[in-house]
Amino acid sequence: MRSALLFAVLLTGLCSLAGADDKVQTDLYTVIDGTKVDADTYQGFRTWRAAACDRCHGANQEGLVGPALVESLKTLSRDDFKKTVTEGRLEKGMPSFSASKQVMDNLDHLYAYLKGRSDGAIKRAKVELLK
């Protein structure tokens, strides 16, 4: 019964959003309504979560012990981003993710997701897969 109610609430939510159909498309990502993203960018989000980046950078990339990525990605180049994630900044507490296959395989997707957050195109940390 509870799940039925939840479903109803979800449906209502979706319907009200569907009207907006706000689409942002760049060569990095596609975002609809600020929360639904293309498959590659979605992999970036999954990688962000799996690697527990939020423990230092905050659940919303707003920064905690680590810097706010919504800010950093405004200036950090794609190459520097990939270098930092791969090699880490050990003295500052940023790990090297070179041993993580998921992170290494999804560096570009992770960049796309975080860039989308930093650009403001992705309006919520948790995203859904665009169907």
Binding site: R49, N60, E62, G88, S100, K126
Partner: protein
């Protein structure tokens, strides 16, 4: 490979038991019996954090002033406290774990030890590089470094006497805990529950650094040093043998091998029972769907024989954890009345929000009550089974992966984390620094990769709905399980408390205040130190004067929890409100401040 080590452990244990093992213990017991010293992190073996000194008392504490200060030269979170032995103070820093010996007369640095550690361990301590302090015995100062090396330093010169590797940092097994000397052994744990580290407690010989025993938190009986017939637990209203494979049968497949149960808290020791008490942490991962079962013996209170490591009894507080309620908080040993009877008890304020009183001779459950009224994830602890009765709405396992369970109290950092409580044998009350924080918790599937984070949940933390204070400093009656008084604090109280015979109780706040309250919780004095306090208050006497000291230096999970809190900001961009508020009060910076009364 495991069997020879165990045989070796047993033979070494026997040898030690015969060859005057009590010497170091007697020395330490004597040192700690003199309130001039602060010879152990908790002041004594029982984790009381109580001093007989009363020169500073409720009548004059308002006159307390700064005697001297010392910069540690290190930023980040400063937990634990210095030690004082005679005319020398020994103090530690967060990573890189420098150690100083200070002359109390002149405050001159007698020696400094600066270990070289691989910076790769820094990110493995995510999210802060804390260290909870040193131990002293047998003319040696013991340092448990972040990189897992346990080092014995000559107390006179600071030279390394011996060093032993206690874990493998490559898989995330690092250290933050203080080592504890009980008898002729130095006992230490391991961190890394968020990296899938399988927890253990290890005992090393204080003279040589040779391992005497190691007991794991999970796995086969032989590796946990559990005897299925003689090791007991609280079951069905009685103390009963745990039976064979008590851990293995509560895990799916080989998950116990990466199943956590780490051991980074404060241990205690009862010389009469010859038992060491400590707690084990969360099962890995934070996504409960990946590890069905009770996940024994994560989240448990342990009693082990100091000489052999053999488990006398074990009690699991949070079977099948779904919230990251590590059971590592301090175990306080006291002799109090429970239900009108004098009992030798162990008192433990768990992350899960329940204050436990157990019979420490056999692990029988006596009292389990909420020490923060906000606790909502369980209605109560069933006294017969010892199991918390979980509220479905707040069960992240029942709600399932990829569902955000909202409004769970307490948050993952618990109604109390490692910040240790104090016990006054004078008032028979426990003085407890607490968190008053709730959370949303969304588990998700995560794959294990050695040396990579193994978390599997996204959390956000905030004060209980409609409330502003994120912490309370409380007095607790462990015989009845009742809050005697509660003093609200704006932020979590993340500093270890100190009770004294002078009827003054001290604690620090995240804004950076060191506060003194009387036995009724009335604030008598406060002083704003340079940074937020997550260290533990300590006291000593030198040349006839009593001194009270504390580390300041914001950091640890408290800083992070606070940063994440105050404003429920799931969707926001930019820094959350709480972080800005913290910045209004304090910034990083490690310093020791010592107070005394004017002449």
């Amino acid at each position: 490979m495991k069997i020879p080590i165990r045989l070796l452990s047993i033979s070494l244990g026997l040898a030690a038991a015969v060859s005057g093992s009590a010497v170091a213990n007697q020395e330490l017991a004597k040192l700690s019996a003199d309130p001039s010293n602060w010879a152990m992190q908790a002041g004594d073996f029982s984790n009381h954090r109580y001093s007989e000194l009363k020169q500073v008392n409720a009548g004059n504490v308002s006159k307390l002033q700064v005697a001297w200060m010392f910069s540690t030269g290190v930023l980040r979170g400063h937990e634990g406290s210095p030690l004082v032995i005679g005319d020398t103070m020994y103090l530690h820093t967060p990573f890189p774990n420098n150690v100083f010996a200070l002359d109390l007369e002149t405050q001159k640095i007698k020696w400094k030890y600066a270990p070289k550690q691989d910076p790769a361990v820094i990110p493995q301590m995510c999210c802060d590089t804390v260290n909870r302090g040193l131990a002293y015995a047998d003319g040696k100062v013991f340092l448990q470094q972040a990189d897992s090396n346990l080092v014995a330093l000559d107390a006179k010169s600071g030279k390394v006497v011996w060093s032993v590797k206690n874990g493998d940092p490559k898989v995330g097994a690092v250290n933050t805990n203080a080592p504890h000397v009980f008898k002729d052994k130095i006992i230490t744990g391991i961190s890394g529950g968020e990296w899938g580290v399988r927890g253990y407690l290890s005992a090393y010989d204080i003279k040589t650094g040779k391992m005497v025993w190691r007991g794991y938190s999970t796995g086969p009986d032989s590796e946990m040093l559990i005897d299925p017939n003689t090791t007991t637990t609280w079951t069905d209203g009685a103390v009963k043998a745990v039976g064979a494979d008590s851990s293995l049968k509560t895990w799916k497949g080989d998950q116990w091998k990466i199943g956590g149960g780490t051991t980074w808290g404060w241990y205690s020791y009862d010389p009469d029972l010859n038992l060491v008490y400590y707690g084990s942490g969360n099962p890995s991962t934070w996504n409960p769907s990946q590890r069905p079962g009770d996940n024994k013996w994560s989240m448990s209170i342990w009693a082990r024989d100091v000489d052999s490591g053999k488990v006398k009894w074990v009690y699991q507080m949070t079977p099948y954890d779904e919230w990251d309620f590590d059971g590592i908080n301090e175990m306080i040993l006291a002799d109090i009345n429970v239900g009108g009877q004098a009992k030798k008890v162990l008192v433990h304020f768990d992350r899960n929000g329940f204050g436990y009183t157990l019979d420490r001779t056999n692990g029988a459950l006596l009292v389990a009550q909420k020490f923060d009224p906000a606790v909502n994830w369980a209605t109560h602890v069933d006294m017969k089974s010892g199991r918390p009765q979980v509220v479905s709405k707040y069960s992240t396992a029942q709600n399932g992966a990829d569902v955000n369970s909202k409004g769970i109290c307490p948050a993952a950092l618990g109604s109390k984390d490692q910040q240790p409580a104090a016990y006054s044998p004078k008032t028979k009350l426990f003085y407890v620094p607490t968190n008053h924080v709730c959370m949303d918790y969304e588990p998700f599937a995560v794959e294990y990769v050695a040396g990579q984070p193994y978390v599997g949940a996204t959390l956000s933390m905030y004060p209980p709905p409609g409330e502003k204070n994120m912490g309370n400093f409380i007095a607790w009656d462990a015989g009845t399980g009742k809050i005697v008084w509660s003093k609200g604090e704006r932020f979590s109280v993340w500093s270890g408390a100190l009770a004294t015979a002078g009827d003054v109780v001290f604690y620090g706040t995240l804004e950076g205040y060191l506060k003194a309250v009387d036995n009724n919780g009335k604030e008598l004095w406060k002083f704003h130190t340079p940074s937020g306090i997550i260290g533990n208050v300590f006291t000593y006497q030198f040349k006839g004067k009593q001194y009270v000291g504390v580390f300041s230096g914001i950091g640890g999970w408290a800083g992070i929890g606070m940063a994440a809190g105050l404003e429920k900001d799931q969707d926001g961009l930019g820094a959350v409100g709480g972080y800005k508020e913290l910045r209004d009060f304090t910034d990083l910076g490690g310093q020791l401040t010592i107070f005394t009364l004017p002449n």
